[in-house]
């Protein structure tokens, strides 16, 4: 089975719109939204949720004020200053390391498991979908990304489908690292801006670090053709395959507002034509 992960470094370059368009174009596949922190793919896919599960991961310390004799050891040991002067744990500050729980001489600290999100297995008009939603201000996004990719793979195996299309998170930190490990290939959606180029270079370095074969396409190319070409030259130097260019086309926003992929909304548009060409090149590259 092949897994294509779409990433970008910089946020808002068009990952989700392009992945949604791929969903319109690809044959049998499973969709996976690994941007669990701000998941948006479901807004286009309108999934019918078949299974809903709690995501339970990590712990938070809770002090029982009846048992606590305020010795202060927990406050001294907490590296996150998450325990107040009156011995109440700030659940947002608590890292879940358990040091206070372990060393409290009065055994006054409880350390319950956290439910920090939900994950779903769904059906969409384009096929099965695995997606998730991390609770606001929660941690463990990397673990949820790993879990949802695993669920996506299982869905593909169960349904005899050879392709997993995964929408990745922005940045280069923990959730992106969790998205890259073991993927067949990554497609970077770059935008031709100084920041788009800068961020694309950093995420390309990360993909190389994890030995994931990488491709790039430049979205909104005509906004700054010189910068677009600079991104393509950088890619060639680093053995990143250049898959094509997408023009700046408001049709992407209009399609999103209607809850449709750009291919469904206006297949004859310039934007749709460019994405189709890129999908064909990506599919060939993946050996589909």
């Amino acid at each position: 089975m092949k897994e294509l992960i779409v990433i970008s470094g910089k946020g808002g370059t068009g990952k989700t719109s392009i992945l949604a368009a791929f969903a319109s174009l690809a044959g049998k596949k499973v969709l996976c939204d690994a941007d669990v922190d701000a998941a948006d793919l479901h807004l286009i896919m309108a999934p019918r949720i078949l299974e809903r599960h709690d995501f339970v991961s990590g712990h938070t310390a809770v002090i029982d004020s009846d048992k606590c004799d305020q010795c202060g050891l927990c406050r001294e040991l907490c590296k996150w200053n998450a325990i107040s002067e009156d011995f109440v744990v700030d659940p947002i500050g608590c890292e879940g390391c358990g040091v206070c729980f372990y060393f409290c001489p009065e055994k006054a600290i409880d350390f319950p498991l956290d439910t920090c999100g939900e994950w779903f297995l769904s059906d969409t008009r384009f096929g099965p979908m695995a997606h998730a939603s991390l609770g606001i201000a929660e941690e463990n996004s990397g673990k949820l990304v790993s879990l949802i990719r695993q669920q996506g793979k299982m869905l593909a195996e169960k349904n005899n489908m050879g392709l997993l299309l995964t929408d990745g998170p922005p940045g280069i930190g923990c959730p992106v690292i969790a998205s890259l490990g073991g993927a067949s290939a990554a497609l970077i959606v770059a935008e031709p801006t100084v920041s788009g180029k800068h961020d694309m270079e950093r995420v390309a370095e990360l993909a190389a670090f994890f030995n994931v074969p990488t491709m790039v396409c430049v979205n909104k190319f005509d906004l700054n053709p010189e910068m677009g070409q600079a991104i393509e030259s950088f890619a060639k130097e680093k053995n990143i395959t250049v898959m094509g260019r997408i023009p700046f086309d408001p049709v992407f926003t209009r399609a999103t507002v209607q809850g449709k992929t750009v291919i469904e909304f206006d297949p004859a548009s310039e934007g749709s034509g460019a994405v189709k060409k890129i999908w064909e090149a990506v599919a060939r590259h993946l050996g589909l």
Binding site: G9, K10, G11, G12, T13, T16, D37, A38, D40, L43, G58, H59, L77, K79, I92, G93, E95, G96, C97, G98, V99, Y102, F103, L134, I136, A137, E138, E139, S141, G142, P169, P170, G171, I172, G173, C174, V176, I177, E191, P192, T193, V194, S195, G196, H198, D199, R202, E205, L206, F209, L223, N224, M227, F248, P250, T253, T256, V257, G259
Partner: protein, 278 residues
């Protein structure tokens, strides 16, 4: 005073707002770029960097000549960052959260601290503006400790503008916690609205007053506007799509340089925030 600029969704214009606001203001102003995974503000501000500090976090190192293989370090570690394998104890430094539990629990004092590099913090100036950002090492998973290091540069007497990372999980919280005001930047699309709701949720958990900037305000629909009115979130600025702004951004130019009339808008934005806080 600390103003954090956040968004939920990426690519809505945080960098544009943070840099243009910071450069428009006079007096004792600091710009802290806390989007350490992808810091972009310096590409627009072009600060003279005076100091570069490598930031590390302590991780365990085991002296096997002292270790009795009791396994207490493995038991206390919540992050599977130290494991007993046969006759050796193997730390996985990249998984370590630096809580210090293993070092404290070890009865043989066999565990000492070594360093894992998180990235760098760079400090500099651009004319009157003080500039600080963090750059996460490529391959490093944890950004919140580096974000907290950048925030240590905040001076209470200054006006501190923080450019936060996208999303709503721990890195964003690290960049918003303790701020006096959060400026949320969104776009009027279903993605923008969905992620804005998450960002508002995070701001509410932290109990910080917030206001909204709608970027590319004419590319989408009215649902963001309706939501803001419904939630009583003031809309402080609307920036219509303008190819001139987009092209200037693509080259690393500031709006206030290409269209100087915008400086007045950013000064007004600051006044509105000051009034909202007082």
């Amino acid at each position: 005073m600390i103003i954090s600029i956040a968004s939920g969704k990426g690519g809505t214009g945080k960098t544009t707002i943070a840099t243009n606001l910071a450069i428009s203001l006079e007096g004792d102003v600091q710009l802290l770029d806390c989007d350490v995974e992808e810091p972009n503000d310096y590409l627009f501000i072009h600060p003279d960097i005076h100091e570069v500090r490598t930031i590390t976090t302590p991780v365990p190192e085991v002296d096997m000549t002292k270790c009795s293989l009791c396994g207490k370090c493995q038991d206390i570690c919540q992050f599977k960052a130290i494991v007993v394998m046969g006759k050796i104890v193997l730390p996985f430094p990249e998984l370590c959260h630096s809580c210090g539990g293993c070092m404290r629990v070890c009865p043989e004092n066999a565990i000492t601290e070594t360093d894992r590099e998180l990235g760098v913090v760079e400090w500099g100036r651009k004319n009157g503006l003080e500039f600080i950002h963090g750059k996460l090492r490529v391959g490093e998973a944890m950004s919140p400790p580096l974000i907290r290091k950048v925030r240590e540069f905040a001076r209470p007497e200054a006006l501190t503008i923080i450019d936060a990372p996208p999303g709503t999980s721990c890195p964003v919280i690290a960049a918003m916690k303790g701020a006096d005001y959060v400026l949320l930047v969104t776009e009027p699309t279903p993605f923008g609205l969905h992620d804005l709701k998450l960002a508002v949720g995070a701001v509410k958990i932290l109990g910080i007053p917030c206001g909204l900037i709608i970027n590319r305000s004419d590319m989408g629909d009215d649902r963001v506007m309706e939501y803001a009115n419904d939630q009583n979130i003031p809309i402080l600025m609307e920036i219509p799509f303008d190819r001139k702004i987009a092209e200037a951004y693509s080259k690393g130019h500031m709006i206030v340089d290409v269209m100087p009339e915008w400086k007045a808008h950013f000064l007004k934005l600051h006044r509105q925030i000051e009034e909202a806080i007082s």
